[in-house]
Every structure is written in C-alpha cells, then in structure tokens.
C-alpha cells in the first residue's frame, strides 16, 4: 500500500563529496556530456551569483537572495526539464532561471527594482520568480492539470524551500496534484534554514520527503550537492509524470552558503563550523573531481558572463512613471486614465479619448 511512496533512509547520491562514484542502485549515472553540461552551468551560475552579490554590495540592486551552495539543485533541476516543460521558481532560484536560458539582465530586473519581472514567462516557460511562499506550488499544479486536459505533453516543476513546506498552500498543492494525478514535480531545496529558523523548528517529520506519503505521492530524498543525483532524480520524475504516473516530491538536502539576502546577518543564528562543514561538500569541486577536470575549464566563459552583467548593470534603467498605469487591466479603465493624467500632470487636451476632464487640464478625480 505504501510501496514506493517513502524515501530511502539515506539521500540518493551518485557521486560522493570526495568526487568518487557512490555505489547505488537507484538511478543510472548521467552520461559524461550531461555531467559536463551540469558542471559548466554550475560554474556560470556561481560566477553570476558572485557578480550580483558584489553589485548588491555596491548598492546597484535593491535586494538579492543568493543561490551560492545550491547550484547543484538549481542547475540539476533546470537542465532536467524538457523544452516544453514549465519551471516555477522562487526568489532564491536565479541560478535556475539563468540556467533555463533567460538573459541574466532580465532576471535582475526585479532585484534592481525596475519592475516585478523582466522576462516573458510564456516564451521561456518559466513563471515569474515567486515571493509569497508556496503560492507557486498551486500555480504549477493548475498549469500541469490544464496540460493534461489539453492532451499536452508538459510537466510543471516547482521549486520551494524547506520553510515553504509548512505553508498551507504546499499541503493543498500536494493534495490537489495527487488527486488530479497532475504531472507536477515538487523540488524542495532543504537548505537548513528559513531565514533564521532551522529545520527542526519547522517540522517534526522524519524528513520533508516523508510528507509525500500522506498524499499518496512518491517521494525521493536526494543529496542536493550532488548535481548528478539531482539531475537523475528530477529527470526520472519528469519522465514518470509525463507518462501519467502522477506527481513526485523530491527533497534535495543542501545548504545556503550566504545569508538569507544581502540584508541578513547569518552570524546571528548559525556557527562558522557548520558553514565549514558544508564548504567541504561543495557541489562544484565534487563534480570537477569526478570528471577529472582542473576546475578552470569554463572560467573564461563565466568571466565573460560576469563582465557583461557588470557592464549592463552599470547603466541605470529609468522606468517611466507612465508604466505605473500600464497592464493593471487588459485595457486601462477610464478612472485610471484620469488618475494618470492627474498624477503625471499631463495636459488633458493632449490625450484624446479622455473624457470628463476639467478644462484646466487636470483629471476629475
């Protein structure tokens, strides 16, 4: 009755922290080409993250939640998606979004404070990075269920954090997905903390993956610093969901190396020796060692990316105040049109089609 629903006692691992093949029977090791692509994406992702963190310190960004330490989870998930699949990322997942092929400057639009989302979700099949915790889980379930109703071969993969698993929406999403057999993969990046709150204050469950059984969802626990294991597990889950086997829950055990955001001080709630322990489990070094790489193979490419971000972030975008009044509705309602004329002190006469304006040119509101 519960067969296959429970995670294994030990997290799935294909490559151990020292860079050797783990003896496992769970999933096959991805081929060398895939592993190299994963490594390359992690190098770019880490460089991007470091560059953005530096720009944030210089005051060029409003806020930035770093992905450092979680590159294996984020690239492993993003690369496991097929082109027709959708990704539902959070604020933490900029590296996943960049790995999906979205222009880094478009990713930074929201963190720079220029607009809320800078890329076209439909074009990239990537939802806007979501801030209200766990709310994106339901969007993923709905999108996936619609795909089934339309006979489309599309899987939705949603990223969430350990803290977000306590939210009611996560419960509702897991339940809806299971009842509807929706092709959704839930990838929980358990990075140990929700801002300052450690996992043991978040849940009394044996693991986050154990939560799946209560919904009848197959669940896996994976070493989130092993890109090969994350990739293999998410790929298998995407294939199973696409084949009609229903949703899958994956807990990826990882660690957030930076503070929650640039505005947070992690020394108030965690010890340096804990950070040091996780430094030894670095996802990039592990894969480089396994592949027999020097570790500098993709540095030039990553440096070009960082330089490009630096240059383009050096010029301030100046969003127009008029954009405040755009896209609130499909068509601007008359009352908003009048408020815009009023707020921006536009000459009413110069705006044809605005009725009900007073003669002095101010909106009647």
């Amino acid at each position: 009755m519960t067969e296959g629903l429970l995670p294994t006692d030990e997290p799935i691992q294909l490559i151990d922290p020292a860079g050797s093949r783990t003896v496992t029977t769970t999933f096959d090791l991805p081929d060398r080409e895939t592993l190299t692509a994963l490594y390359r994406a992690m190098v770019s992702g880490r460089r991007f993250d470091a560059q953005v963190t530096a720009l944030t310190r210089q005051g060029r960004l409003a806020v930035y939640p770093s992905s450092r330490g979680q590159e294996a989870c984020q690239t492993g998930t993003a690369l496991a998606l097929r082109p027709q699949d959708w990704l539902f990322p959070t604020y933490r997942d900029s590296v996943a979004v960049v790995t999906r092929g979205i222009d880094p400057m478009d990713v930074l639009v929201s963190f720079r404070g220029d607009w809320h989302c800078g890329y076209d979700p439909r074009q990239h099949r990537t939802a806007p990075q979501c801030t209200p915790l766990a709310t994106n889980t339901l969007h993923a379930v709905g999108l996936a269920h619609a795909a089934r109703l339309k006979n489309e071969d599309t899987v939705a993969v949603v990223l969430l954090g350990d803290g977000a698993t306590s939210e009611g929406d996560t419960h509702e999403a897991l339940n809806f997905a299971a009842v509807w057999k929706a092709p959704v993969v839930f990838v929980v990046q358990n990075n140990g903390y929700a801002i300052s709150v450690p996992l043991h204050r978040q849940t009394a469950a044996p693991s986050l993956a154990h939560k799946g059984i209560g919904y009848g969802i197959r669940s896996f626990r994976v070493d989130g610093n092993d890109a090969a294991a994350v990739y293999a597990t998410v790929s298998a889950a995407v294939s199973a969901a696409a084949a009609g086997a229903g949703p899958v829950l994956i807990e990826a055990v990882t660690y957030r190396m930076e503070a929650h955001t640039n505005a947070d001080d992690a020394t108030r709630y965690r010890q340096d020796d804990e950070v040091a322990h996780w430094l030894e489990r670095d996802p990039l070094r592990r894969l480089a060692t396994f592949l027999g790489l020097k570790g500098s193979e993709f540095d030039d490419e990553a440096e070009l990316l960082a330089a490009d971000v630096r240059t383009r972030a050096g010029t301030d975008a100046s969003p127009s105040p008029e954009s405040l009044f755009e896209h609130v509705y499909a068509e601007r309602p008359v009352m908003l049109e009048r408020q815009m004329v009023d707020a921006l002190d536009l000459p009413a006469g110069g705006r044809s089609g605005v009725e009900g304006l007073e003669e002095d040119g101010r909106g009647t509101r």
Partner: protein, 344 residues
Amino acid sequence: MSTVAQPVTATESSARQSVTLAGALNRALGDALEADERVVVFGEDVGPLGGVFRVTDGLAARFGESRVWDSPLAESGIVGTAIGMAMNGLRPVVEMQFDAFAYPAFEQITSHLAKMRNRTSGRVGLPVVVRIPYGGGIGGVEHHCDSSEVYYTHTAGLRVVTCATPADGYRLLRQAIDSPDPVIFLEPKRRYWSKETAELTVDGPALHEARVVRPGRDVTVIAYGGMLATALEAAEMGRAEGYDLEVVDLRSLNPFDDDTVTASVRRTGRAVVVHEAAGFCGYGAEVAARLTEQCFHHLAAPILRVTGLDIPYPPPKLEAHHLPNADRILDAVARLQWEDEPGA
C-alpha cells in the same frame, strides 16, 4: 483542444422566459461552456450535486468531468490552480461556496490573480472568474452572510462585479467569463430565487457600466447586488411620500463608472448610497468621496449612506436590525435637507 477565441453568442437563451437568478446564472455557465471550450468550471460540490445553491446544476452531466468537476476542499487550492490553468490557456470559472469561505483564497486572489498581468508587463493575463455567493438576508448563520466586496475592490487588477437581477446576472456572467481580466463575481444569495420574465442575452450595458434602473428627479439612490431590489422597493414607497427616486445599479464596483453615476447625481443634486456591508470604510465611503469631489457644486445636501451596522454579521434572529431596508432608505432620503417640497 483549440485555443482560438470563440465569440460570445447568446442565441441559445434568447427567447423570453421566466427565470430565477440562479437559473439565469446556470444558463450563463452552460452557454459559456458551450461557446468556448477553454472554459472549465470547478470548485466544492459543483459537479453532480450542482453546487449548494444549484447554480451549476446539470453542467457536469452535460459537459463531462474534464469541463466541470469537484475539486478537493481547499479555497486557496481552487484559486491557485485556476491561476495555473489560466497561465496555460484555460478560462476557469471557480466557485467559492460562501463569502466567508473565500478568505483562505485571499492571498492567491490579491497577490497573484490581481497582479500577474501587471507583474509580467501584460505578458500573462489571467482570465479567471471567481464566483462568490455573498451577503445576508437568508437567515444564515455566522460565516454565511458576509458582504466582502471591499476586500476585493481595494485591490487593483481585479474587476469586481455584482449582479442584481436574472437578466443582468446572465449578461454579467457571460461578460465576466469573456473578460481578459480576473473577475470577482458576487452573487447575492437572497436574490437567487427571485424571478423575472426576460430575454437572456449578453447585449446591453458592458461589464464596467452602471445603469439607471429607474429614472427619477429628486434623489439618486445608488445600490448594487442584493440591495437593488430594496432600493427599488424604497422608490415605490417613496412615491406615496412625494419623492421621485432615481435608482442606479452600480454592477461594476471596480472599475467604478464615474460617468453614469455623476451624471445622475448632477441631475438630482442628492444621493444616498446603500449596501449591506458595514458603513465604516465600506464601499459607500468611496462612492460618497468620489461624488463629493466630482459633483460638489451640484449637491444640495450631504451624501448619506445606508449600510449594515459596524458589527460582525449578527445571528439570524437579529439580522433584520443590521440590514438596510426600504424604510431606512426613505429615512435617509427625508434627511437630505429639503427646504422646498421634493420635486419643486
């Protein structure tokens, strides 16, 4: 399934007929499901049962469970998944079972449903209709009678609509389903079973327009939803007292149709706003403020509000004290600083 837009055609329902509001809304859903295969209907008990108010009666049998189905019991889940479905080209029409039971969905409605188009610079619109049976007057117990409109009207990006009569309920629901914007569709429970002989058609005032339901010279009575019939009753009674009341049905609470309402108030010079919800920070406050700003020099008296009391919704035996009725509306009318006889 094609994703080509289907024009709204109401031919199926166009003969004159005697119909209740619940029946007209049922027809609207059926006709919308027929006209556009992107439309899906889901929520709690909306399948075989037909909803607790029977507004979805017969639809599951007619259209099958891939178009009309019972969801698990979770309001945030219903709205949140509707958002994802709309992102993937469907046009979900979801039902919240009662006004106060929509509150678990508040985060999805205000943080995502309302804002996705704006957040994505127009790239992802969410044509979702959230139907909410609302308001009191049915002897319902706690949590079943709230007038929750301002929680939604205060949120930019949502269209908030109330229906008051069968024919207009049909029209508004068809228009709401056809709208590219998310619509909070408020259905006054106390009027579900009131009948009208009418033609059901989408033609007529547009989704954002108020309408003058009864022309009059002395006072503009502004109402919506369940209070429209009460305002009309007051107008009938007022005739005997010498008042000729004009009654405006707002229909769309957001956006607000300034033009229709201000034209009426400039004509009559007096206005009373009526709603069931508490007066404090209620919808009438916004109406009174807007009208004062726009019609000040035409006003002969302050704008008055006739509203529910500033209390939690009372138990059934006391609700009559809370809810506005025709007498209270006429009391307000009598307080509008008449120096001359009305109509003089």
